[in-house]
């Protein structure tokens, strides 16, 4: 039986594509920022500057939580009924 969501998805199949691409784009952006944060934290730790370490970790944690919560919006794809 058809429902509203399924017919919507069928008439606009590119919608999920756009959502997924955007999610991946944001996740890559997050990971890039985290790599930079880790690099800075490591450099400062080796230089004995400890002030920056906890803020860098908290920022990294926030980015990770953003990434995890974005997974909620991950589309499951159109389930076509196969005969």
């Amino acid at each position: 039986m058809s429902n509203f969501r399924r017919s919507q998805n069928q008439s606009n199949p590119n919608k999920l594509n756009a959502i997924l691409s955007t999610l991946i784009f944001i996740l890559i952006l997050n990971v890039t920022m985290q790599i930079w944060l880790l690099y800075v934290a490591l450099n400062n730790a080796l230089d004995n500057n400890k002030e920056i370490l906890i803020p860098a970790f908290v920022a990294s944690l926030i980015l990770f939580i953003i990434g995890i919560s974005l997974l909620y919006y991950l589309p499951t794809g159109n389930r076509n009924i196969r005969k």
Partner: protein, 172 residues
Amino acid sequence: MSKEDNLNKNWKKDFPIEKQQATNVSRRDFAKFLTLVSGGLMVGSGLVTAKAYLYPKEEVLGEHFVCNKDEVPLGGTRAFVIEGSTIPYILIHLETGEFKAYEQKCTHLSCSVFYKPGTGVIHCPCHEGSFDAKTGNVLAGPPPRALPKLDVFFKDDAVYVRAVQEEKIAKL
């Protein structure tokens, strides 16, 4: 059954996932994998922080005798290790007459650095890194930080080193 029919029927049976769904699945997995990487980086950042606070870098305690002044000629160097530690240091007798002591490990990838006599430059041969022999600051190349240094002082003719005093005052 014609060849065409056979192809359509069996192809569907062998590959029951439609093309669009197949791409959806792999990109979903990619998104999840990115989140996993994100978590890994977060944990790594946490470990760096924990290591820095729980196991701080050992500081040089007390005063340590290195050698006598006349044992190191002008422009010469002497490698030494402080008792109870494995970190290699070099004592440099600069052409200006000053004595300086630095860790001998390049801050880039821990190669041994050496003083180039007459230039005022400490050089790392691995990746052509250069440090200022007067301050330990990076002059050129890939090293990200200045060379860690020790304070040099004298008792009569003997050369001694100790941890840099400014840092201690700042920490108190």
